[in-house]
Each structure stands twice: as structure tokens, then as C-alpha cells.
């Protein structure tokens, strides 16, 4: 029985001690965050300044509030009791005194503890004037019951950072295989036969932040073995057994606009003559394009070269060089 009583007393004492400890911590320090209005002000401005804070520790009758501000503000010593008003629930009257260049003290008479927002308006006949130099200036509030905190008034846009950047127009271009899986610089039709149309494809992958741009194409001329030139499409649907060489261009899309295939190269499934040696506009693109890193068969344009041979096509190794150039429009 005695052991139980001692145990209970011990537990009670532990609880009371911890409560007392917590209470003492609360009494020692309580942070508040006053608001300052206007929070931004021009330099050398003569205007009212309003501080509002909510006490963490209840303000009791006779408590004081110490308000301090940086020395850059002028007019602090000219302030009087009538130039500062302190209001809030349960505050019946206040007296402001001890005005210096950087502070004053307000003594509160209250009808009950003040636990809600307290508003301090600095400015009446006399006011504070903001510093001549731009800067971020702290106003601090400390109550005699242990609350304290500060906040800034931003003077002369010292809290404003103008961010400027020039984004130049850029163009990017790469030739990719037909699946947009790898870079390529060749389109290989392999060994051509009478029985089938030889073909190969690749993609023009263009990216830009420009409003519009164009792709031009120029070739080395005919698809040739050096002495014999393939017959060219006119445009033509190339079929096996009839010697013809040409290309089908399938314009893709762009992420923010449209792609227009130039008339001479637009023939649907028919192959077009693709042997111009003077650069000609192939695609005109309006709008920014941001194709995916790989596998983008939407925002890329497909070029397919087709060739068919006949019984009279000379043997040999046939080649052609095609150069694409991406330029901005203007």
C-alpha cells in the first residue's frame, strides 16, 4: 500500500515538474512576427506606418510595448503621445513616451488580458520619414511580458530584383534514321533489283525557338554511277521494273505551329524529282519546335528515297549527295 502511495506521489511530482518546466520556458521567450504596413515604401516618404502583431503571451494591465526602428528614419524624436495609437481588444487606453530617434515605449491599460491582434499606428501630426537610402529596414516590437519580434519595411524597392535575360533565337538540326533512334548521314538502298523498288528513309529533326524557319535542299545532281544517270520522277509512283529515282517527303508537325511542304516536293505517295543542284525551299515551319530526344516520329519530317531499275539500267554503284540547310525566316 505504502509503495503504491509513494509511486503515485512520485508520478505526480514528475508531471508537476515537467509542467512547471514547460511553463518557465514559455515565460522566458515568445516570438512574434509583426506586420509592417506599408511593407514597401519609397525613400524619404513621410507617411503613417502601421505595425500589427498578435501576442503569444497575454498582455496584462500595465504592460509596456517597446517599439524600435532604424536610425535612418527621421522624425522619431518629434513624435508625441498623440502621434501614436495602440488599439486592440481589451486595451482601454495607452500612453506613449520615451520617444527617441529610434524608439518609443507604449504603456497599456487593459480591462482584461490582451490575446488578440494589437495595432500600433505611428503617425499623426508628426510622422516618421523613411530613410533617403534604399534598403530593407527592420521594425521591432517587444512587450514587457516577454514577446518580441521584428519585420522589414522595404524602402526604395531594395527588395525588388529586376531579372533580365536575353534569349537568343537558335536553330538545331540533325539527320536521324526513320525511327528517330540514331543519327545518320547515309540512306542506303542496298542492291537494287528488277523485282522490287529500293528505298531508304531518314528524318529531318529540327528544333527552334524561332517564330518561323525554313529548310532548303540542294543535291549533287542525278543519282549516278558517274557515267549513267537514273531517270527522274516527274512526280511518279515508282514501280518495280521501270527505271526511276525520286523521293517522297512526309512533313511532320511541330510542337507549336505548322509545317508546309513546298509545292514542287508535295506529291503525296508519288516520288518527286530530287536532283536540284540549286538550293530550293523544302519545308517552311511556323512555330517553335521541341522534338523529343529519341523516337519522335511526329515532330520530325520523313524523307524516303525510292529507286527502281529496268533491264537497261547500267550496272555500277550509284550515289547522290543531298545537303539540307536550316535557316530562319525574317
Amino acid at each position: 500500500m505504502k509503495t503504491k502511495i509513494f509511486g503515485i506521489i512520485f508520478l505526480f511530482s514528475l508531471i508537476i515538474s515537467s509542467i512547471a518546466l514547460q511553463s518557465s520556458i514559455k515565460i522566458e521567450a515568445a516570438g512574434i512576427t509583426p506586420t509592417v504596413t506599408p511593407s514597401a515604401q519609397t525613400v524619404s516618404a513621410n507617411a503613417n506606418i502601421t505595425l500589427v502583431f498578435t501576442p503569444v503571451t497575454p498582455i496584462t494591465n500595465g504592460s509596456t510595448i517597446n517599439v524600435s526602428f532604424p536610425s535612418g528614419y527621421t522624425g522619431g524624436t518629434a513624435l508625441t503621445n498623440t502621434d501614436v495609437t495602440v488599439t486592440g481588444t481589451n486595451i482601454t487606453s495607452t500612453v506613449e513616451a520615451s520617444f527617441t530617434a529610434t524608439s518609443f515605449i507604449s504603456t497599456l491599460t487593459t480591462s482584461a488580458n490582451v490575446t488578440t491582434a494589437v495595432t500600433i499606428v505611428i503617425g499623426g501630426t508628426n510622422r516618421l520619414t523613411t530613410p533617403a537610402a534604399a534598403g530593407n529596414y527592420p521594425f521591432s516590437v517587444a512587450t514587457s511580458v516577454g514577446d518580441s519580434g521584428a519585420n522589414f519595411q522595404y524602402v526604395g524597392q531594395a527588395n525588388v530584383v529586376q531579372v533580365r535575360a536575353l534569349v537568343p533565337v537558335s536553330l538545331s538540326f540533325v539527320i536521324r534514321d526513320s525511327a528517330d533512334a540514331a543519327n545518320t548521314n547515309t540512306c542506303d538502298m542496298g542492291t537494287l533489283s528488277l523485282a522490287a523498288v529500293g528505298s531508304c528513309s531518314y528524318r529531318l529533326k529540327i528544333g527552334s525557338n524561332a517564330a518561323s524557319y525554313a529548310v532548303s535542299v540542294a543535291t549533287s545532281g542525278n543519282f549516278t554511277n558517274g557515267s549513267y544517270n537514273f531517270a527522274n520522277a516527274a512526280p511518279t509512283l515508282i514501280t518495280a521494273g521501270t527505271e526511276t529515282y525520286g523521293a517522297v517527303i512526309t512533313p511532320g508537325a511541330v510542337t507549336n505551329g505548322s509545317v508546309v511542304l513546298a509545292g514542287p516536293y508535295s506529291a503525296g505517295a508519288n516520288s518527286v524529282n530530287y536532283t536540284n543542284t540549286i538550293a530550293a525551299t523544302l519545308l517552311t515551319i511556323t512555330g517553335q519546335n521541341n522534338p523529343g530526344a529519341t523516337g519522335d516520329t511526329t515532330n520530325t519530317s520523313l524523307v524516303t528515297h525510292n529507286a527502281a531499275i529496268s533491264n537497261t539500267t547500267a550496272s555500277g554503284l550509284y550515289t547522290q549527295t543531298v545537303t539540307y540547310t536550316v535557316l530562319p525566316t525574317f
Binding site: S170, F173, N183, N185, I206, A293, Y324, L327
Partner: protein, 345 residues
């Protein structure tokens, strides 16, 4: 009970109607942020206005944005001409009489770029003292060096990118600009339900290129805002014209009236513009361009249009008609209910 139902139907129809009026289509789009790979060149376009005898160094930022390809690049220079009225450049070789063919130099004509490598490459522009005043154009191209064919029937493909350089050599320069065309798609607009399409063509004559700016005003600028005349800051070459089109979308769409909005015409230049809701107004266009470092303003064209909310009025009349119809339906139902109650008694 019937009274309540009819009241609820009336309220619902009002709400639906106002929701329909006040909400247009909302298009939500997302853009993927993946990296673009390939040969990247920046800036894409440059212009210089200078006295003869001056030299310039132009920096081009070139980058190999691939992970597995080494670029062996070569600088080349062409001139170009504008085809059509869209400002599409078509490359041309310099002619034998083109004095500007020797003005461009490359301290480093060949460049190798490893995957991920970037480089600032210099281009020099040297304008001789005896250069004839006027406009000159250059396409500064960086491209892959031609490859050798292998042992297969194949097409070798080279890629290149270029920047356009516009040079006005000062001296006896003549800059003239005018409107070739200024047309609206309608003469009477409902300010709430009609889009506006303004087509205009600006022509530059003389011997210098221009980048005209300016505005189109509906009524007065203060009341309606201004439309930017050349929103993409296009350059117009001498003795050529450029076609523009500005599209002011309708605030609302009515069923049966097709949306005329297109990506090309959903301009960035009309956000501040509000159509007057009533009255005859001037549509006035003003061009500004720079000449000898002075802004020259020319008030060129003006036309009149009428703003009248006829579709809006029609809609209000339809609503009133519906309300009247609902009232009469309510009355008929009420009478029938009373009659049925009487007969029941």
C-alpha cells in the same frame, strides 16, 4: 409541386445559358521539355547598319548536342533572296558583280565538335570604304563536310544550319514604306461574338531593308488598346512586300458559328485590344521605322467599321421568348391542375 418544378427548370436554364455565354473553350496544352539533339546555332539572325569602311566581329555560338556524333564542320557564305511574301530565304551563290562576296571572313574555317562540345566561332565583316550604300545579305552557314561514298547504292546526307546577316551600308540611303493592302474581313462586327481579321501588306522601296514597327488602333488607343503591326519584328527587304494578318478572336462562340481561330493567327499582339461594343469606329494603322537613328512615323491608312451587338441582341430576344413560352406553359399546366382538382372534387 408543378410550380416548383417549373421554377427549378427556369433557374437551371438561366444558369446553363449564362455558363454557355461566359465560358469559351479552354485549350490546355503541355510541351515536353526533352532535349533537342543535333547541331545548334545561335543567334539565327543579325542586322548591322553601318558606315562604309567599318569592320565587325560576329560571334556565333555553335554546339554539338548529341551524345555519339562528332561533327566536322565547315563555314560557307552565300547570299539569299526573299521568295514570296513570307520572308523565306532562298540561298544564292554570289554573282560575279556582287561586291560583298569578299566582305566575310572566317578566322577558323573548319571546326571539329565532339559530342556535347560547344564553341564560339568568329566571323569577320569588313566593309570597304568604297562600298556602295544599300542593303546586303549574307547567309553564314555551318555544315558538315561532304562525305565519301562507300560501296553501296546510297544517298549521302549533309546537314547544315545558318544565320542570316543583314547589313545596311549607310550613305545615300533611301527608306520608303507604304501599305499595299489593308483589309478587314467584315464591315459590321458583333463585338462579343465576331472575330476580326485584318490583312495588310507592307511594302518597302528604296535601297535599304527595314524592320518596321507601329500599331493598328480601333477607335482611339486609350479606349481599345493597340495591335502591334509587326509582332515578330520581321525584316522587309527593299523593293519587296510582306503580308501580315492579325486575328482578334471572338470573346464567345455561338453554336453554328465556326471558330476561325488558327494557330498561325492566334497572335501574340492583340491581347490588350478590346472591341468597342457599339458605334462606327476608325481602324487606323501607323508605321514607324528608324532612319538615321530617328523614329519616323507615318500615318498610312484608315478605314471605318461598325460595331453592333446584333448577335447578342438576338440571343437576348431568344431568351425572352423562351421565358415567355415557359410562362405560358406554366399557366396552361396550372389551369389543367386546377381543372383536374375540380373534377376530382
Amino acid at each position: 409541386m408543378f410550380k416548383k418544378i417549373i421554377a427549378i427548370i427556369g433557374i437551371c436554364s438561366f444558369i446553363a445559358t449564362f455558363l454557355f455565354i461566359s465560358h469559351g473553350n479552354v485549350n490546355v496544352s503541355s510541351q515536353n521539355q526533352t532535349q533537342i539533339r543535333g547541331l545548334i546555332l545561335s543567334p539565327a539572325l543579325q542586322e548591322i547598319e553601318t558606315e562604309p569602311g567599318q569592320s565587325y566581329q560576329i560571334d556565333l555560338d555553335i554546339r554539338n548536342d548529341t551524345t555519339d556524333k562528332t561533327y566536322n564542320l565547315i563555314h560557307t557564305t552565300s547570299t539569299f533572296e526573299a521568295v514570296g511574301e513570307e520572308g523565306v530565304p532562298v540561298l544564292k551563290d554570289f554573282g560575279p558583280d556582287d561586291q560583298q562576296k569578299t566582305w566575310i571572313g572566317y578566322p577558323e574555317p573548319l571546326i571539329n565538335l565532339e559530342p556535347g562540345q560547344g564553341k564560339i566561332t568568329q566571323v569577320t565583316l569588313s566593309i570597304p570604304k568604297e562600298a556602295t550604300p544599300g542593303a546586303y545579305y549574307f547567309a553564314l552557314i555551318i555544315g558538315e563536310t561532304p562525305k565519301q561514298s562507300t560501296d553501296s547504292n546510297q544517298v549521302l546526307i549533309n546537314s547544315s544550319v545558318g544565320t542570316l546577316l543583314f547589313v545596311n551600308v549607310l550613305g545615300d540611303i533611301d527608306k520608303q514604306v507604304s501599305f499595299d493592302q489593308f483589309e478587314l474581313d467584315k464591315q459590321i462586327y458583333d463585338p462579343f461574338f465576331d472575330s476580326m481579321s485584318i490583312k495588310y501588306k507592307i511594302r518597302v522601296t528604296g535601297n535599304a531593308f527595314l524592320r518596321p514597327s507601329g500599331n493598328i488602333f480601333i477607335g482611339t488607343q486609350e479606349s481599345t488598346g493597340a495591335i502591334t503591326l509587326n509582332p515578330d519584328k520581321r525584316i522587309i527587304l527593299p523593293n519587296s512586300a510582306r503580308q501580315f494578318q492579325t486575328f482578334i478572336p471572338a470573346d464567345h462562340q455561338l453554336p453554328g458559328f465556326s471558330s476561325e481561330t488558327s494557330n498561325n493567327l492566334k497572335s501574340r499582339n492583340i491581347e490588350a485590344v478590346k472591341k468597342p461594343w457599339f458605334g462606327q469606329k476608325d481602324i487606323e494603322a501607323k508605321i514607324i521605322y528608324t532612319d538615321a537613328n530617328q523614329d519616323v512615323s507615318q500615318q498610312i491608312v484608315r478605314t471605318k467599321v461598325i460595331f453592333f451587338p446584333w448577335k447578342s441582341l438576338l440571343l437576348v430576344l431568344i431568351l425572352i421568348g423562351l421565358l415567355v413560352l415557359m410562362y405560358y406553359i406554366y399557366k396552361i399546366i396550372s389551369v389543367k391542375i386546377k381543372e383536374s382538382k375540380k373534377s376530382a372534387k
